[in-house]
């Protein structure tokens, strides 16, 4: 397996369509969800997430590189680098070749996002695994999945397996539509709408951090049909059922936390559940267009059972994922960025402010994050060549352990990303699933022997 490490300009490679887009769109503004991320990038926060596929055969890297080179012109709005303006960051056309790189034991670490020639996504290969790591500045899971499907379709096309192109798998020889790079947040903002209510600070997971540039990834694989049946038994959807088990596991960790003993020392446990806004507001953008619901349990009121949590999550999600409510948050985000006073603040000062806002209005508000991408919807032409799809989310010093769920065929993958030594949350989550009668197969990039911090005895 060979990887190319050198980068070279590919202007001379002769892509008339790509050249046309280079001229018409030499730069892009960041969308309103992406604005805050560049200010947060650091050694402890890469803001990158990862979609990975386990194939039935080892990856042919030259073929994967050829597939990547072939599909790049179809996604001109991803072939960019992040640059600093005087007032805002912006994207500029990047003509450096994006090489497929090898994988690492600790993926999703800080990459050369801010450097000249640095891309905001990376394609990685290892054994029979292909991974796409995408910085959230670039796009959300919807856009990344379309790019990933198109990459896999082209990879298999080069192996002789042809795929029918549609709205979920793009034809690499097709022409990009302007709506694919629109900022849909701006389109759906409703100036004058009242601001959303901001709740109190949430409880945060305790735990000593893992060494810098390392993270623990723990994946549990279940049968999708069995888990769906189990969710139905509880009268819930898969998303609600998994979120409820997650909240219940968080409650278990809080119960065992010595600093949270006694009603007065407890804080609300709040989970961030992202949702694709394209289901609520028509949009075909491949940039960020997602918001979230914040189901919570106030454990000062007493211990919540799984059924009670399911009832709460169902109610909160129904209230949150309402077009009018969503418009409140969209409007708040867009109008804040459009405020004349905010606009004229120079970028270095704005960065400091954005870091503060992220802490007060972002990380401090949630205990953790769990996203359910749903079915990966791989084209039938090569779906059976893929054994499993995983989604890995970035944990940060604030959101120490987070989870991403995706399914492919009957394989439901739940992957935890964590930057703390203790793994109580993962253990309690999967043990809870096992107790409901589900079979779970668990694997991790971090050997159990690596854990140095003692977990609290009650959770053993």
């Amino acid at each position: 397996m060979m990887f190319t490490n050198s980068s070279h300009r590919d202007d001379e490679s002769g892509q008339p369509r790509a050249d046309a887009y280079r001229d018409r769109h030499p730069w892009y503004a960041l969308d309103h969800a992406a604005l805050i991320y560049p200010a947060l990038l650091s050694d402890t926060m890469s803001a990158s997430y990862r979609i990975q596929a386990t194939l039935d055969a080892p990856i042919e890297v030259p073929l994967l590189q050829a597939a990547l080179d072939a599909i790049r012109p179809r996604f001109p709005y991803f072939q960019i680098e992040l640059r600093k303006g005087f007032f805002w960051f912006f994207f500029e056309r990047n003509t450096v070749r994006n090489a497929v790189i090898g994988d690492s034991r600790f993926p999703m670490q800080k990459s050369a996002v801010g450097a000249q020639g640095g891309y905001l996504y990376r394609v990685r290969a290892h054994a029979n695994h292909i991974a796409l790591e995408v910085c959230h500045i670039l796009t959300d899971g919807y856009g990344a999945l379309i790019f990933f499907r198109t990459l896999l379709a082209e990879y298999y096309r080069l192996q002789g397996i042809c795929t029918a192109y549609d709205a979920t798998v793009f034809d690499p020889r097709g022409t990009p539509e302007p709506t694919e790079w629109e900022d849909s947040f701006s389109r759906y903002a409703d100036p004058g709408a009242p601001k959303p209510h901001r709740g109190p600070r949430a409880w945060h997971l305790p735990g000593m951090p893992l060494p810098l540039h390392t993270m623990r990834i723990t994946t549990g694989v279940l049968s999708l049909s069995a888990t769906l049946s189990k969710a139905k038994e509880y009268g819930a959807t898969l998303t609600v059922f998994l979120a409820a088990v997650f909240l219940a596991a968080l409650q278990d960790v809080q119960d065992a936390d010595p600093a949270s003993q006694g009603r007065r020392h407890r804080r609300t446990i709040r989970l961030q559940l992202p949702a694709n806004l394209r289901g609520f507001f028509p949009s075909s953008t491949l940039r960020n267009f997602s918001l979230f619901a914040l189901p919570e349990i106030d454990t000062r009121l007493g211990h919540y059972g799984l059924e009670e949590i399911i009832t709460r999550i169902r109610a909160i999600m129904a209230l949150s994922f309402d077009a009018k409510e969503l418009k409140r948050t969209i409007t708040r985000n867009v109008m804040t960025a459009k405020h004349p006073v905010i606009r004229v603040i120079p970028l270095p000062i704005k960065n400091i402010l954005m870091r503060m806002i992220y802490r007060t209005h972002g990380e401090n508000m949630y205990t953790s994050l769990s996203t359910n991408v749903g079915p990966a919807r791989m084209p039938s032409s090569f779906a059976d060549r893929i054994k499993r799809i995983d989604v890995v989310l970035p944990s940060t010093p604030g959101l120490k352990t987070v989870a991403g769920t995706v399914s492919h065929g009957d394989a439901l993958s739940i992957t935890f990303g964590s930057v703390i030594e203790r793994n109580d949350l993962e253990r309690l989550f999967f043990r809870r699933l096992v107790r409901t009668g589900l079979r779970v197969k668990v694997e991790s990039n971090h050997s159990g022997r690596d854990i140095k911090e003692p977990n609290h005895a009650i959770l053993q």
Binding site: S111, V440, H446, G448
Partner: protein, 240 residues
């Protein structure tokens, strides 16, 4: 499929311990099977350093940039000064200051690995700057009488205070005490130098008054540190 008897989850064929609870996994077939196709490799290649400069490269680039800026500023000042009558006048002060700033900014970059040599050279650079500025008008009036002794005393006071601070095994409120003692000694020496240079009585006055205030404060802080706090977290001691 092997599984963890504690957690109830299935694990990979190659797993020796449970990824969740570290409990050893019993394999019916004896030894664990080495699985070459695990999802993540064992090697680490992140963070991505492809576009990053090393520290020494960054320092060298910093020295280049600072030298270029200082050179351009010097040339501009000289030309502006010479423009009206072709003579060099006020620009000597400005150029001297630019040269001093340049030296003080590049020395930490060039001698980051040799901090002692860096401090000595910075001291020499400041002394040379004071003498240069003093000598521009043709006479040495204040640089040797005031400038050099005050500079030396300042350096010695900072050095001794730093040594005292670093020598403390338990650091806490005692550091403020050391700072107060250092400041008292410095002020006494400063007043003595000023009096000697002005040829008046060498016996210090106002600095002694200040020292008489600072020394009891330092003693109180040492007492508080040694007898009460002992390096303890103040939030713990004064928790409401």
């Amino acid at each position: 499929m092997p599984y963890c008897s504690k957690c109830g989850v299935e694990v990979e064929e190659s797993a020796a311990t449970c990824p969740l609870c570290s409990a050893p996994i019993q394999h019916l077939g004896g030894d664990t099977i080495r699985d070459e196709s695990s999802t993540y490799p064992q090697h680490i290649i992140d963070p991505d350093d492809a576009y990053r400069l090393s520290k020494s490269e960054r320092r060298r680039m910093g020295v280049e940039l600072l030298t270029l800026v200082a050179g351009l500023a010097t040339a501009a000042l000289l030309l502006v000064d010479m423009f009206p009558d072709g003579a060099i006048g006020w620009s000597m002060y400005a150029i001297g200051s630019v040269a001093e700033l340049w030296l003080l900014s590049i020395l930490p970059l060039m001698l980051a690995e040799k901090p002692r040599l860096m401090v000595v050279l910075m001291l020499a650079a400041i002394l040379a700057y004071l003498c240069f500025i003093d000598s521009i008008d043709g006479s040495m009036s204040w640089s040797l009488g005031f400038g050099a002794p005050i500079l030396m005393v300042t350096f010695i006071a900072v050095y001794l205070t730093t040594v005292a601070v670093r020598s403390r095994a338990i650091k806490g409120i005692n550091l403020f005490g050391i700072g107060a003692l250092g400041l008292a000694g410095y002020l006494v020496a400063l007043e003595s130098i000023i009096r000697l240079a002005l040829h008046i009585s060498a016996r210090p006055y106002w600095s002694v008054v200040t020292a008489l205030v600072l020394v009891p404060i330092a003693i109180f802080l040492f007492y508080l540190h040694g007898r009460v706090l002992r390096g303890a977290d103040l939030r713990k001691i004064f928790r409401l």
